[in-house]
Amino acid sequence: MRALETENGSTTIPRSTPSHDVHDEENVMSGSPRHRFGLPRLLVLFLVFGVGIGPSTLTLSAQDETQWFVQAEFDDQMRQRGVAAEGPADQPWVQMIEPEMVDTAQYATEASGWHVCFSNAGVNNPWRAVGYTTMQAEVELHPEIARFTHVDAEGNDNKQISDIQDLLNQDCDALIVSPNTTAALTPIVEQACGQLPVIVFDRGVSTECPTSFIHPIGGYVFGAIGAEFLVEEVAEGGNILALRILPGVDVLETRWAAADQIFSTNNMNVVGVEFSEGDRARVKSIVTDYIERFGQIDGIWMDAGQDAVAAIEAFEDLGLEVPPIVGEDQQDFLQKWSEDGLTAIAPSWPTYQWRTPVIAATMILSGQPVPSEWILPQPAITADNLESYLQTNMPPQHYALCGCESMPEYPQRWGGE
C-alpha cells in the first residue's frame, strides 16, 4: 500500500481572462452606442442556470466522497498511529515506522562530490516554503554533497516532467522528486528509475520503482485526529462546519474522507463542507455566513490549518465564543490558541519530512540500506504539549514541526528573530 499524499496542493487560483477584445480606436471613434443592458434577462439566466447546475454538481461531490475512502488503508493508517517508530525520538525526521529495508549497494559511489538533484513541485505555499528552506539547510549539513540542483516546477505538471527530463541529462547521482500530481508524474519517474536512484517524498506516484518513498503516516490520520477531537469536545448532534482548501487533491480528500466517516458514525451534524481555495477572506466570510444561517456552529474542522485564524476571527468579530477548532501547526494559530485559551487541536503534516530525502540520498549513495517506504511519525499538537511548540520569535506562517531548530542559521534563515 502506498498512500499518496500532498500538502495543500497548489493553491494558485486559476485566473480567467476575459474573452472579449479591447475595442479598437476606430470602434470607439465611430460614435457612442446608446443602449441598455437587459438585466432582467440575466436574472432569468441565473435562475435557469442555478437550478440546472445545482443538483448535478451536488451529486458529483457526493460520489467523490465515497470514492476517496478505502477502508483497508484507513485501518492501516489508524494502526500505524500506535506503532512505535524506530530511531532517535528527538529526530523524528530519521525515524521509521515498520520499515522494510532495501539494499542499495549497487548505488554506492565514492563519497566525494555527489551531485544530488531535486525536482520540486513548487514553493507556492507557506508549507512548501518552510520545507524547502529546511531542505536547503539539510543539504549544507552534508559536505559530501558537492552540488545540489533544485528545479522549481511552479505547480505545473508539464514543467515538472520537462524539468526531470533535463535533470536526467545532468549527471545527477541521485534524484529527489516531490511530485506535483500523482498520475501525471508517474511515467517520467519510472523513466528516471532506470537511470539513477530516485527518492520520492510528500505526494506519491503510482509506481513502486523509486528506491525510497518518504511520507508521514497519511491523510486519514490527519483527518481522523481532528474529527475524533471534535466528537469528544462537541455534544452529539452538534453543528460541525468543515472547511477545505481544494477538491480533488488526494491527501486533502483522504483527510476529509476520514473525518466524514468519523462524524457520520458519531451522529455529528455536519452543516456544511466548503472550499476556501486558501483565501483567508473567504474563510472568514463562509464562517460568518454559516453562523448567521444556523445560529450556532459548535465545531470547526479544517483539512489544512493555514487559515484557521481567519475562522477564529469570524467568531470574535461577531462577539461569540470560539467553539472547538481543528487547525495545524502554524505559529499564528498556536499563538491564538495559547493566548485565548481555545479548545483546539493541531494535526500535522510535518515539514521535517523535507530533511529526510537528503538524508536518504546520502544513505543510498554510500550503499546503506533504506526503507522502500519510509513512513515518518506524524504527531499532533494538543493542549498538553502546546507550549513546547510555541515559538513567538518565528513568523506567523512558520510551521512548528519543521525539525529545524538545531540547524545552522536558525531562526533567521526561516524568517525568525
Binding site: S19, E25, F37, F49, G50, A129, V130, T288
Partner: protein
C-alpha cells in the same frame, strides 16, 4: 435622455442646461435593471436567511462588499475613459503583503506605511496610464503586464510565505467599526470608507469638468481632442484613481482577514463584472458611480445567495463568466437592433 449620438457633440452628459434632478435621473435610468436585480437578490437572501434583515447582519454583508464596491468605483473611471485596468487584484495582493512586512506588528508604522502604499498606488497608476497613452500599448496588454509584474514581485518579496503581522490600528479599518451607534450597533469603518469613496468619486465623475472629460475621452476621443480635452492626461488620471481605489480596497481586505498571499486574486475581474452590471460600456463613454457600486453589491449578494443555497464554490466563477458574456452580449445585441 438627450439623443445626439448622431451629432458631432461629445456625449450626452455635457448638457449643462438640465437641472440636477433630471441629470441624476438620466444617469441612473439606463442602469435601473441593476437595482431591480439587486433588490430581487436581497429579497431572495432574506427568504433563505430571515436574519438578513437584522441591521447588524446586513452591515456585516455591506462590510464584506465594501472593498469590491470601492474597486468598482475606481475601475469605472478607467472603463468610462475607454480603457481597462487588469492590475487591481495584483496591486491588492502587493498592498497586503507589503503592509504585513513593513508594519510587522508595530502600530506606530501604520500611518507611514498607509501613505507609502498610497504613493505606490499613484506610481502604479501613472505607469499604467503613461505606458498606455504615451507608448500606445493597449491598456489590456499594459495592465496585464503590470498584473504579472506586481504579482511576481509580491511572490518574490514574500518568498511564498508572507511575513509579518498587522497591528490592530491597521486591521480595524477592515475589521471593526464605530461602536454603540443607535439602532444598528456597530457601524463598520469599511462601510464609512466606502460611503466616502462613493461621494468623492460620484462628485468627481458626475459633477466636475474632469468627470465630463473622462466621459468625452471614452465616448469620442477625437471629438474630445478637438474640444480641447487632453485625452492622454485624463486617461492617466483615471488609471491613478483606479490604482488608488485598489490600494484602499487592499487596506480594507488586509484588515478584514490579515496577511494572505491570495488576498487580491480575481478582484480585477469582479470589479470589471460589477462595472458592466452597473451599465457601463466596455470601450468607454458611459457609466455611473452609484450603479457600478450597486453592481458590486449585486455580485456580492449573488455570491452570498449561492453560498446560502449550498452551491459549490467554483460555480461562482461560472456565474461571473456568464454575467460578463451575457452583459456584453446583450449590450451588443441592443446596439445592433437600435440602429
Amino acid at each position: 435622455m438627450t439623443a445626439d449620438a448622431t451629432g458631432p457633440t461629445i456625449r450626452p452628459g455635457i448638457d449643462l442646461t438640465e437641472s440636477t434632478g433630471t441629470r441624476i435621473l438620466r444617469i441612473l435610468r439606463p442602469s435601473a435593471p441593476v437595482f431591480i436585480v439587486l433588490i430581487g437578490l436581497l429579497v431572495w437572501i432574506t427568504i433563505e436567511n430571515p436574519n438578513f434583515t437584522d441591521p447588524n447582519v446586513f452591515l456585516i454583508f455591506l462590510r464584506r462588499a465594501a472593498p469590491l464596491m470601492i474597486l468598482a468605483a475606481g475601475q469605472l473611471f478607467v472603463i468610462v475613459s475607454g480603457e481597462f485596468d487588469l492590475s487591481m487584484g495584483a496591486l491588492i495582493t502587493l498592498v497586503v503583503i507589503l503592509s504585513g512586512s513593513w508594519i510587522d506588528g508595530d502600530p506606530s508604522r501604520t500611518w507611514p506605511v498607509i501613505l507609502a502604499l498610497l504613493a505606490i498606488g499613484v506610481v502604479v497608476g501613472l505607469a499604467n496610464g503613461l505606458i498606455t497613452t504615451r507608448l500606445r500599448v493597449p491598456s489590456f496588454i499594459t495592465t496585464l503586464g503590470t498584473m504579472l509584474i506586481l504579482s511576481g514581485f509580491a511572490l518574490w518579496w514574500s518568498g511564498g510565505t508572507p511575513k509579518g503581522s498587522l497591528p490592530d490600528n491597521f486591521r480595524m479599518w477592515g475589521r471593526t467599526g464605530l461602536e454603540d451607534v443607535p439602532v444598528i450597533g456597530q457601524l463598520p469603518y469599511s462601510v464609512i470608507v466606502m460611503v466616502i469613496v462613493a461621494i468623492v468619486t460620484a462628485w468627481l465623475l458626475h459633477a466636475t469638468s474632469f468627470g465630463k472629460q473622462v466621459f468625452a475621452s471614452g465616448g469620442n476621443p477625437r471629438a474630445a481632442f478637438f474640444s480641447g480635452v487632453d485625452v492622454p492626461r485624463v486617461r492617466v488620471l483615471a488609471f491613478v484613481i483606479s490604482a488608488l481605489s485598489a490600494v484602499i480596497a487592499g487596506i480594507l481586505l488586509g484588515g478584514f482577514s490579515g496577511v494572505s498571499p491570495d488576498a487580491g486574486a480575481g478582484y480585477e475581474f469582479r470589479a470589471i463584472s460589477a462595472v458592466i452590471l452597473g451599465g457601463a460600456i466596455l470601450g468607454g463613454g458611459r457609466g455611473a458611480i452609484i450603479p457600478a457600486m450597486a453592481g458590486a453589491l449585486t455580485l456580492e449578494a449573488l455570491f452570498t445567495l449561492l453560498n446560502l443555497l449550498g452551491l459549490p464554490n467554483p460555480i461562482r466563477d461560472v456565474f461571473q463568466g456568464v454575467i460578463i458574456i451575457a452583459a456584453i452580449g446583450i449590450a451588443a445585441f441592443r446596439q445592433r437592433t437600435s440602429r
